[in-house]
């Protein structure tokens, strides 16, 4: 038979057992608190209960939850100093429980509480400790005075041990969950950041990822190219609010000198953390603007974190997290998470920028690869940093052999090449200088301009060898044309001056010769002028052909006949015709071509030489050859002699002059008649010019 005492003890054990079972099922701190403050308080036969824990900084006691107390009376007890002379603070400080049988006893021991809760009765405050470390306390208030005999005390202490174990376990679980959540978020954010090199896009994604888990509002601001603050992203669950935020930003642009917020973080590179946004700070920012005050009040800002995005010592931007309508105020853990997120974002931005710069550099190098001008980039000491293919072609030095070496070693003539080149600052008008450069056994003319950009020099090289040669050819042409015009002019002028001499009696034969001279030299002058004009017409494509059926034999005979009139006696002319078929062409133009070829052949013939004109039909075309036994033409000149103004070296022609237009005109005319003109020749063995024209079909 059980005694009342044993029955009471069994009852206490059952109640404790019930609490233990409930606590075992509770997972989250809230579930644990709920179980303790309902079943635990009931098991202890108490009227009310509360649980407080040591704050993170160890200086305060934070009231986690209470049940049964008057809410208004507890309003001032959500957080109180650890040093306070109140039971819960003392229990946490000392680790020793406090059992107070009545309110009188409480008031005597804690005079500070003398004016509070006089309707209270007995009070128990027991420590919550795990592995000897006190992290909080549980208070139990009773609706009567109670003398706590040892068994009762032990029961309260047991309850506290159960509660402490469960609470510590659930807090550990919550912390683990929180850490897992934070790690998951960081992993997701990292994945987003790594997903693209478009950091505008990825940062916007990260901002969106941050709400609502990490913040009610998330904003990302970047430092622009000229130091200005550029808002890159704003995120909120409500898109309407995002639009509103941008409008607000336009209406109230950030003051770059503001002592708080994004400008301050960008300036200092230091994070700014307000677990609880001070009202005075808001008031200061709002000033007298009632509209702004209304907006800020509506936003309900509670807590903010603003962290810098720093990479390689440079502040690239700032990430702002705001807890407002739903998110709890930020903690140190939140700040650490924000710092880590900002660090990862900054690295991603920096990498993207570096990649973009590298890509731009690669693009530029690729573009320079296709540029026809040589581009040479030197550092301040003269080492080659870039040497594009055109530079390699002009200098005959490959990129591999040039880059990294001193340019004066790469091209020994470099200093001579660039010594006359004026260096202009970036953006200045370059003044190219054309200079000859001897590389190995070849001479090139190069137009060089240079830009000094402070850290080095960039030179642009243009190979103008051909242009220079053309210019020289033109200058030569002027000299040649002048010679060609002066000689007949001298004859005409001289003949007139001589005929008009009254101090000399000229014979009839001399007089007649002078008159003939005037006639023939005037004709020659006219012919040269015609050539110059015709070349101009050919250039302008203004030559008209009068195509008719043409008797080639007759044309050839006419050419030889008229040549015979003025050819030197020592040179013989011949004509052979082997089955000339009729062709259609401009007869006058063809005659002009043949006369020119025969004249040339005569001009370059040695004494006793023979000039032959041969006509024959071969494979659907008609060939007219003009062959001589003259000086001949070197093989590498066979094509160039048909270029406008081109003349063989006087050393090769032994002084025979010409306008440099005759063969150019001949080829142009023949080609306009759908034919072709070419030459076969060897120096010293004469030349054979062949006109090929299609036979009439």
């Amino acid at each position: 038979m059980s005694t009342p005492e044993s029955s009471e003890a069994a009852d206490r054990a059952r109640r404790l057992q019930r609490v233990a079972e409930l606590l075992a099922e509770a997972v989250t701190p809230q579930e644990v608190l709920d179980s303790i403050l309902t079943e635990g308080v009931r098991a202890a036969e108490a009227r009310a209960g509360a649980i407080g824990v040591l704050s993170a900084d160890g200086a305060s006691v934070e009231l986690l939850a209470q049940r049964g107390y008057d809410t208004s009376a507890m309003a001032g007890w959500t957080m109180f100093p650890l040093e306070a002379d109140v039971p819960m603070s003392e229990v946490i400080r000392t680790g020793e429980p406090v059992f107070l049988a009545s309110v009188q006893e409480r008031n005597e021991r804690y005079p500070a509480l003398a004016d509070q809760g006089q309707e209270s009765n007995a009070l128990v405050v027991v420590p919550l400790a795990v592995e000897g470390r006190v992290f909080g306390a549980m208070s139990l208030s009773f609706d009567r005075d109670v003398f706590f005999e040892p068994e009762r005390r032990e029961m309260k202490l047991t309850l506290a041990r159960q509660a402490a174990q469960a609470l510590a376990r659930s807090r550990l679980y919550a912390a683990e969950q929180d850490l897992r959540r934070r790690m998951t978020f960081l992993a997701e954010a990292s994945e987003v950041l790594a997903s693209s090199l478009d950091y505008n896009f990825t940062l916007t994604q990260v901002a969106q990822l941050s709400v609502p888990g990490l913040a009610d509002w998330c904003a990302i601001d970047m430092v622009g190219p000229t130091g200005e603050i550029e808002r890159l992203a704003v995120a909120h669950e409500d898109p309407e609010k995002v639009r509103w935020a941008y409008e607000l930003q336009d209406r109230y642009p950030p003051d770059p000198d503001a002592p708080t917020g994004v400008p301050q973080v960008l300036r200092t590179g230091e994070p700014e953390f307000f677990p609880e946004l001070p009202q005075e700070l808001l008031d200061e920012a709002i000033g007298d603007d009632e509209e702004l005050r209304r907006i800020v009040d509506e936003l309900g800002l509670k807590s903010t974190i603003c962290v810098p995005l720093i990479a390689r010592g440079r502040t690239l931007g700032a990430l702002t997290l705001i807890a407002a309508e739903t998110h709890p105020p930020y903690t140190q853990a939140d700040l650490e998470q924000a710092l880590e997120l900002a660090r990862r974002a900054a690295v991603a931005v920096d990498n993207a920028r570096l990649y973009r710069e590298a890509e731009r550099g690669a693009d530029a190098a690729r573009a320079l690869g296709y540029v026809g001008d040589g581009v040479v980039l030197l550092d301040i000491a003269g080492h080659v940093l870039h040497w594009n293919p055109a530079a390699a072609s002009i200098t005959n030095v490959s990129e591999e052999d040039a880059v990294g070496r001193l340019v004066s070693e790469v091209v020994p003539a470099w200093d001579a090449l660039t010594s006359h080149v004026p260096l202009v600052p970036p953006g200045g008008a370059a003044s190219p200088v054309t200079v000859p450069i001897v590389l190995g056994d070849r001479e090139r003319w190069v137009s060089v301009s240079g830009v000094d950009f402070g850290d080095g020099t960039v030179y642009a090289l243009q190979d103008v060898t051909e242009e220079h040669a053309l210019e020289k050819t033109r200058a030569d042409f002027v000299a040649t044309a002048s010679h060609e015009l002066r000689t007949p002019l001298a004859a005409v002028y001289g003949a007139v001056r001589t005929l008009r001499r009254d101090d000399v009696e000229l014979s009839e034969a001399d007089r007649s010769q002078f008159l003939e001279m005037i006639e023939s030299e005037a004709t020659r002058l006219a012919k040269i002028v015609d050539q110059i004009l015709l070349a101009g017409q050919l250039d302008a494509d203004a030559v008209e052909l009068d195509v008719t059926e043409c008797d080639l034999e007759q044309v050839a005979a006419g050419v030889i006949e008229s040549a015979a009139v003025h050819v030197p006696e020592s040179i013989s002319l011949g004509l052979s015709v082997d089955g000339a078929a009729p062709i259609r062409c401009d007869e006058n133009k063809l005659r002009q071509v043949l006369v020119n070829l025969v004249d040339n052949a005569v001009k370059y013939s040695p004494e006793g030489g023979r000039v032959e004109l041969r006509v024959r039909s071969v494979n659907g075309s008609c060939q007219i050859e003009v062959a001589d036994e003259g000086l001949g033409i070197p093989p590498d000149e066979h094509e160039r002699i048909f270029e406008k103004f081109y003349r063989l070296d006087p050393q090769q022609t032994q002084g025979v002059g010409g306008s440099g237009l005759g063969l150019y005109i001949c080829r142009e005319l023949v080609e306009r008649m759908n034919g072709r003109l070419h030459v076969e020749s060897e120096p010293g063995k004469g030349s054979r010019f062949t006109v090929e024209l299609p036979l009439r079909r």
């Binding site: 010679h483 060609e484 000689t487 002019l489 001298a490 001499r501 022609t653 032994q654 002084g655």
Partner: protein
């Protein structure tokens, strides 16, 4: 007097006008013939064209200057080449006169005579320098 020019008309002009000035005139229609005549006949002066087939006037002047027998024969270039560089070459090759075509053949006899008188007076060097400093002739 030896006139070397591949242009028949120029030779004729020189011949008629030099004879009118009382001079004997030899003619050559190219450089090689000019060299042969100069070596054989030792003329008092050579009127020498520059641009001629086979052997040009520069070569003739160079070869005459290289030969002790003909070194002293005065050369007056008679050419259409009016470039200062050509005048300098004419001076370097020992020319004592440089006449640019077109020229007045009526005064050529007087010009040649004046050159000969000045050479007689020992002014050969001045005449040479005159080629580049007196571009009118």
């Amino acid at each position: 007097m030896l006139v070397v020019d591949d242009e028949r008309s120029i030779r004729l002009l020189c011949r008629v006008n030099l004879i009118a000035s009382g001079m004997d005139v030899l003619e050559a229609s190219n450089g090689r013939e000019g060299l042969e005549l100069a070596r054989r006949e030792r003329p008092d002066l050579v009127l020498l064209d520059v641009m001629m087939p086979e052997v040009d006037g520069w070569t003739v002047a160079r070869e005459l200057a290289a030969d002790e027998e003909t070194r002293e024969i005065p050369i007056v270039f008679l050419t259409a080449r009016a470039d200062p560089a050509d005048r300098r070459l004419g001076e370097q090759l020992g020319g004592v006169g440089y006449v640019v075509k077109p020229f007045d053949p009526v005064t050529i006899g007087e010009f040649v005579e004046n050159v000969l008188v000045r050479i007689e007076r020992g002014e050969r060097e001045q005449l040479k320098r005159g080629i580049t400093s007196d571009p009118e002739r």
